[in-house]
Subunit: 396 residues, 2 copies
């Protein structure tokens, strides 16, 4: 019986010309970030499970794809101390970056500005438009304690989006220290603030009643007061320095020509944030295009000093559909040379080689003429071929 | 206790500036291939295990990293019919491509010329210089039955290498039909030719005696005669059409200006090849830089017609160390602006933004001055910064 040809459940193939557009978007993002001094790194797809679990990654930790150990016996997992899996696929690029920085502390300039674009994997319940493999595109500043980091990250991210033709974006800004003060004011001192943040983060998705239900363990009047605070965002609940920082970030972004506002309802799901958090909204879409925040000290988990860290991550799959290919300038000239058979093809391969040397920016594609000439021409046109020449008419 | 900061066993982090060089190499490869009409695709990192297992992938099938099913219970693997893992990470890009083509047959122009650059994973025993995650860079022609496919793939691959400054390469060429004829002449008709190819493929690594030992199940005089054939490569053992095709491929490559020769010892480890096979050698290194061949009919496994397919794969990690960054032209001007603190940084962020608008090709990186100024300057120089300016001296 034939194997199924579909991609594995929850993931997808990317056909032309979408894959080429994705490549161009990724390169444009990295080129703009490079102008700010963000250096590219790579980390492996896998991390030790101990790196991923207990990383304060919120619900994402429940969605780790675990990888079977090389040569693991199936009954090992059942024996005390037995382990079937000791590695997992990364669910974000933030936790691997903290490990990376700790690992290479002596080889890196600190402060260090870093860019990282790569796939991540989450074992989400498969649903329409939600994939188990997707690409994140992060920039981070390691070693900068002040809000100069937040300001530059937000500014660079808005620049990238504008450069991709996605103007009119707004940064929404909040601070975990402010949220924490509000939560503790209304719910009392907390052991597990992370669980409260995860619940609050769902407010715009599931509504106030459902959030209140998730917080049923807390005093219901307190929960109502907290939900009211989220709407009004009285900044005086937090320490004065936090309000000052928020104001400084907002005014600095305004001076750089960006749109930015305080949003007390912004929470973000991950537990690891320690200061300002931010997302980017665009008027045409109901979801954020990018999100990030400060997560000082994560490197300490890996035996290194606890450095200040702050990052911003663009949702690549959310941005790509908004990009008009014309932002990359005029398309390459594409010429298809369709041939009757081997002999004609071999002759045209030589001619096409000369043509490419004369006009390196153009595409000269030699291929056999399909039986269905009309379909082949339509297919080639869809791929951007403006000229289809018969092999016998092709000359240098 | 702190987590270990090292990358997961057998894999590695890539620090700057190597990651940027890798990005440039990958883009140059895809740009040159695009000039030939190879369209980029992407496939997921995972495939159903049934796709990977039984794909005639040779020893690679034993090295599949299996991924635990979402929510799998550990005792499921022990029950009859229980399954802990139903997916695995791809070990090459060839098997996923055959599935991809079968999946999208109606959306693709056939003949289809495709480029695919992506990581693959193999659970190799960790050893020096050998990694469990590495990048392959493939081009394939789907739907071309004649050696015009082989000729173009070899020519395009040598062009890419030359374009990366790696001239002087030679294509070594053989044909599985010829090898099969030789094997059957000396060992008799075979059920499992794949196992014989895997043994013969190790000839230059382990030597003739060790190969003979791996083939101990066969008549020893026949094995000796086969090993002798590998050295002499009497082409008359195979069907006449095979010899004719080999001659045609070699003369066509010569007409295109490439160096190419018949190499009877070239075997390749995968079982799925059906016709010509090839590798690229370079005088400076003892290993091949690229390898490939024809694997007609693989799409039939996935319920599609068995199309002619032929591909060539560049070993990215083998090529990158041979690339001199100067092939990418003069380096970007890089200016670091080192600041005394938040206030100076915020002012310089505005100035740097103006500078970038004036000189978009340059890098202007604003960052805090490190306590160890000398180390910071050395680190920045290593990353290509030719100018380090103090924030208070920076002006638009």
């Amino acid at each position: 019986m034939a194997q199924r040809a579909q991609a594995v459940r929850g993931m997808r193939d990317i056909v032309p010309p979408e894959a080429e557009l994705r490549r161009r978007v990724a390169n444009r993002i990295l080129d703009v970030y490079a102008g700010y001094g963000y250096e590219v790194i790579e980390t492996p797809a896998f991390e030790d499970l101990d790196v991923l679990v207990g990383s304060d990654g919120g619900d994402n930790e429940k969605l780790i794809f675990k990888v079977l150990k090389r040569g693991a016996k199936l009954d090992e997992g059942l024996r005390p101390g037995g382990e079937l899996a000791d590695a997992g696929l990364r669910f974000d690029l933030t936790v691997p970056l903290a490990r990376f920085v700790a690992n290479h502390l002596n080889d890196l300039p600190i402060p260090f500005k870093v860019a990282h674009i790569a796939p991540v994997w989450r074992a989400e319940r498969p649903q329409r438009g939600r994939f188990r493999e997707f690409t994140q595109c992060d920039i981070d500043i390691v070693g900068e304690p002040s809000i100069a980091a937040e300001v530059e990250l937000c500014s660079a991210t808005l620049d990238v989006l504008e450069n991709l033709g996605i103007g009119g974006c707004t940064v929404r800004l909040n601070d975990r220290r402010l949220l924490r003060a509000a939560v503790e004011t209304y719910l009392g001192p907390l052991h597990n603030a992370g669980a409260v943040y995860i619940a609050l983060d769902k407010l715009d998705k599931i509504g106030a009643d459902a959030v209140a239900a998730e917080l049923a363990a807390y005093d219901s009047l307190g929960v109502q007061a907290l939900l009211k605070w989220l709407q009004e965002g009285d900044i005086s609940v937090g320490p004065g320095a936090v309000a000052e920082d928020l104001g400084q970030t907002l005014s600095s972004l305004a001076r750089l020509g960006h749109s930015a506002r305080f949003d007390p309802t912004l929470v973000r799901g991950m537990g690891y944030y320690t200061g300002q958090i931010f997302e980017v909204s665009h008027p045409d879409v109901p979801y954020s295009l990018a999100g990030g925040g400060r997560y000082d000290g994560m490197t300490a988990r890996f035996g290194a000093p606890g450095l200040p860290m702050c990052g911003f991550s663009i949702g690549f799959e959310r941005v790509c559909p908004l990009v008009d290919p014309s932002v990359f300038g005029p398309a390459r000239r594409k010429v298809a040379i369709t041939c009757a058979g081997e002999e004609e093809m071999l002759r045209c391969l030589e001619l096409a080689r000369l043509k490419r040397a004369q006009e390196p920016a153009a595409v000269f594609s030699v291929l056999r003429r399909a039986r269905n000439v009309r379909k082949q021409q339509d297919d080639l046109e869809r791929l951007g071929y403006s000229e289809v020449v018969e092999g016998r008419d092709f000359s240098a």
